[in-house]
Assembly symmetry: C2
Homo-oligomer: 271 residues x 2
Amino acid sequence: MTSMTYRIGDFSQVTRLTVKTLHYYHEIGLLVPSAVEPSGYRWYDEASVARAQAIQTLKSLEFPLDEIRELLAHAQDDHDLVEAAQRRLAEVDRRLAQERAVRNLLLTLIHTEGTAMKQETTSAAWVTLDPVRVASLRYRGRYDQIGAYYSRLFRLYGRFVAGAPLALYHDPEFRDADADIEACLVLRPEGTIPEKDGAQIKVLPSQRVAQVVHQGGYDRIGEAYQRVFDFLRAEGATATTPSREVYVKGPGMILPRSTKKFVTLVQIPVN
Amino acid sequence: MTSMTYRIGDFSQVTRLTVKTLHYYHEIGLLVPSAVEPSGYRWYDEASVARAQAIQTLKSLEFPLDEIRELLAHAQDDHDLVEAAQRRLAEVDRRLAQERAVRNLLLTLIHTEGTAMKQETTSAAWVTLDPVRVASLRYRGRYDQIGAYYSRLFRLYGRFVAGAPLALYHDPEFRDADADIEACLVLRPEGTIPEKDGAQIKVLPSQRVAQVVHQGGYDRIGEAYQRVFDFLRAEGATATTPSREVYVKGPGMILPRSTKKFVTLVQIPVN
DNA sequence: CCTCAACCCTCCCCCCACCGGAGAGTCAAA
DNA sequence: TTTGACTCTCCGGTGGGGGGAGGGTTGAGG
């Protein structure tokens, strides 16, 4: 029956709790020394070691200290901790879901913005587009409804994004209402990505297009179309469908941005 | 060019930030009102709304406020946030791993202790055991090495536990060294559970056994064996193998417990 | 018995992101 | 002018300790 006692420094080494922490635990009555000398020196014994052990395990399970105190006061047996553990589990599950949501948002941001395209040309020119894999949602309606479709695509596939979002216009002429529009998110080419919630995954084929860069808000995109069709006529080429608009810089997820800084590519395919 | 301004209460409603929070953000220079009257009344404008929006998004990504301030001061574009987002992602991933570890520990505790057995008999008696599914590790050596095997089993299968751990002794007579011992964890019967890391999953068959309950430390388990063998002789039955020891109450994961409260079942099977 | 290093004590302020309340001032409508 | 709704500043508190100042205690060596 050896009854080992420790002064606070040694006890701190044994339990791997700092002296400051032990002072604090004493103050809040969580771990009271077995004896306190008139000088104020604290002494701890073997039972304190066992209690400290239990406290640390419970702390690693993220119980707050006052709950740990209650638990240790009323529980004789690990069995008595089950109810509390279940409450804690519910809490941890909530936090886990939260962290996962944060993680998804971060991944979406990183993948969306991590792949900036540099685009300096401002006059119309011939460009050969590489094939790209996209997730798309096609609808009939007006252009200004496209935001909702992008939101859906971002929620579903934001984490796989590998380029600026684009839209395909399948009508051979301009329509205000009842247009045939396809919202696309460019995805990274490798890995399998499942189709979900009505969205389609497909590869847009390589194509030769006439392209013009538009800077500024969407309300003046008409000028860009004028320039590119002028160019086509000068080159003697005939437009086909679908035409593309690539939203190189748009509203963004976080920082406010003036529409003056928006950059859009208008791409019209030929033969 | 309408320039809408809000007093703090309205701005609070628009941004869903409390007035207290807005005071605080003003104090730390994170979100400064567009104007402050001599009376001290704060006025916010549309730019403040956009900034508040960005702050909230960044806050939902768990950036600390002073980092948000730096970010907003130096970033023109979402693209400039990517590096910070990657740092944050690493942090979130660490926390996620941590939370998952906590969750596993909680599940193990719940499943281990959630299935307490009530066992009151103390004299030897006949008992028919139901079949049980177990995860087991069989080894040759000494009894006091069994703890390490249970640790491994708990790490692998703690979350599926549905009863007290038990040991099987395959030797027909007592051996000190080089004994043939099998450490078993009782698992819940439903669901498939994979074999991992050398452990075996199997079902112990139903069996008729002579059983005695032992209370106290393992150093006096010999008395229990004496009682049960006396009982067998009195009944005229012959022991076979393997015999079982069920550790109904042992050291536990968290709370310290005196060995006086340990409860072990000794079960000797007959043909 | 003295000295010295190591150890220990209490007391106070600090961290983060606010919340609550007291007591006083301000603004617009009735 | 009164009322009532807003708003202000200031102070103190949260949880789980950390950092450091300023001073007391202990035990071993000389």
